[in-house]
């Protein structure tokens, strides 16, 4: 059965690119897309994904708010969340760890690197 990955990203081009890379990865993955944190929380409960890629800067509800909500919910607290962000400062990295993200992935992305990272967390299951 295909594993579900949830991508919360407000930028359409970025969403397309992740989709493009995942589709060509030959991994058995179903990608669920959210355009903001609020949608991400809702879809995480609905689809119980194996992994969440969360952009930290989004309208409506950003990742900084959505991740703590996910971590406080019994149903979603164990889902690994990768902070998917353009912020590369050390304090941002530390902050994403503080709120419960397992990794901090800095955009722009590298397809192979991203796939390796996703695989790492999907194989842990």
């Amino acid at each position: 059965m295909s594993k579900v990955v949830l991508l919360a990203e407000d930028d359409e081009d970025n969403r397309d690119l992740v989709q493009f890379v995942l589709m060509r990865s030959k991994m058995d993955i179903k990608l669920v897309l959210a355009e903001n944190g609020e949608e991400a929380v809702e879809l995480a409960k609905k689809h119980a994904p194996s992994l969440i890629l969360m952009d930290m800067q989004m309208p409506v509800m950003d990742g900084w708010t959505a991740v703590p909500i996910l971590k406080a919910d019994e149903q979603t607290k164990d889902i690994p969340v990768i902070a998917f962000t353009a912020q590369t400062k050390a304090e941002d990295r530390a902050r994403t760890q503080e709120i419960g993200c397992v990794e901090h992935y800095a955009k722009p992305m590298d397809p192979e690197e991203l796939l390796t990272l996703i695989q790492k967390y999907l194989n842990k299951e």
Partner: protein, 323 residues
């Protein structure tokens, strides 16, 4: 035949007996002479079919043969056309199946084998199956490359990503090189920024700068001198002119060329950059350059040239908005 000749022979002999040939040379008829005469008589008495009937029959037969040949040819053509149509349909069906399978990269071996069997079962010759598969693979790869290039700002390392894609589509380096021009043409067509007229006497500079400009998305037309450029300029309507300052004796200089163009109402405000050597700077200072005109000192970095070009294009836009 002998029976038919018998009365004729008898008649000839009887007539000889009655009227023997006269004259000094007359002698009894020899056998050879007789046979000749008999044959002549026999031919005259042989039952004959009128010539016109034979010709008519021959003509009729010829017509029938012709009709049959035409009918056969027609049937062959129809059959060939049907086969062609059938093959075309089969190839289209096969191609559609391949496109679905190759959309996201190379299918697994078993899927590849299934597709190959499908092609052969459809009656497509094996070499055509192979060619169509290769075409679809490269087409799909080319589309993927274009998608990635369109999003290259979101990608950290473009060449690594393109390498990754080559693996995803199992495109060998040889195949890539063979199709490189097609990919590049597609990419350039997508990114086309405009046409540059590059005027340089030095072929090395012309080729190197031209290649860099092409990689920036410009179409480049080169000229070896201002005179040569004037011959080409009307045809290509450049969006930008890049010209050397100095040319061999007997040619116009870059500055003169600029002045000639200023006098031409069609090109008098086309953005223009002079490529100067260090010694040319004094000449430039004495001439007044407009905002759409500029210069860059050789040797120059392509990014510096790009920046200077952007400034001139901006000035050109301002000029246009002021009209």
């Amino acid at each position: 035949m002998i029976e038919a000749a018998r009365p004729v022979i008898a008649e000839v002999l009887a007539s000889r007996m009655k009227n023997p040939p006269e004259g000094p040379k007359a002698s009894p008829p020899g056998i050879a002479e007789l046979l000749q005469e008999v044959s002549k008589e026999a031919q005259q008495h042989a039952p004959t079919v009128p010539r016109s009937d034979i010709d008519a029959k021959l003509e009729e037969m010829r017509r029938q043969i012709e009709m049959l040949t035409n009918a056969l040819e027609q049937e062959r053509r129809v059959r060939e056309e049907m086969n062609q149509q059938k093959l075309k349909g089969a190839i289209n069906q096969f191609r559609a199946a391949l496109e679905t399978a190759w959309k996201n990269g190379a299918p697994k071996d078993e899927e590849n084998n299934r597709l190959k069997r499908m092609g052969l079962d459809l009656g497509i010759p094996e070499d055509v199956v192979h060619t169509v598969t290769r075409e679809v693979k490269l087409d799909m790869y080319s589309k993927a490359v274009k998608e990635v290039v369109a999003k290259q700002k979101l990608i950290r390392n473009s060449s690594r990503t393109l390498e990754w894609l080559r693996n995803v589509y199992q495109v060998s380096l040889d195949e890539y090189l063979e199709y490189e021009s097609k990919f590049l043409m597609d990419l350039v067509a997508d990114q086309y920024k405009g046409t540059i007229l590059l005027v340089a006497a030095d072929e090395k500079i012309s080729v190197e700068t031209g290649q860099k400009l092409k990689s920036m998305g410009y179409a480049v037309v080169t000229a070896t001198s201002p005179e040569n450029a004037l011959e080409k300029i009307e045809k290509i309507n450049p969006h930008f002119i890049l010209c050397d300052m100095e040319f061999p004796a007997g040619n116009l200089s870059g500055i003169k060329f600029l002045h000639v163009l200023r006098a031409n109402s069609k090109f008098n405000y086309t953005p223009f950059i002079l490529m100067c050597g260090a010694g040319d700077m004094s000449q430039l200072e004495s001439s007044e350059l407009r905002p759409t005109e500029g210069y860059i000192q050789k040797p120059f970095d392509i990014d510096a040239l790009g920046a200077e070009m952007n400034k001139k294009l901006m000035a050109f836009r301002q000029y246009l908005s002021s009209i």
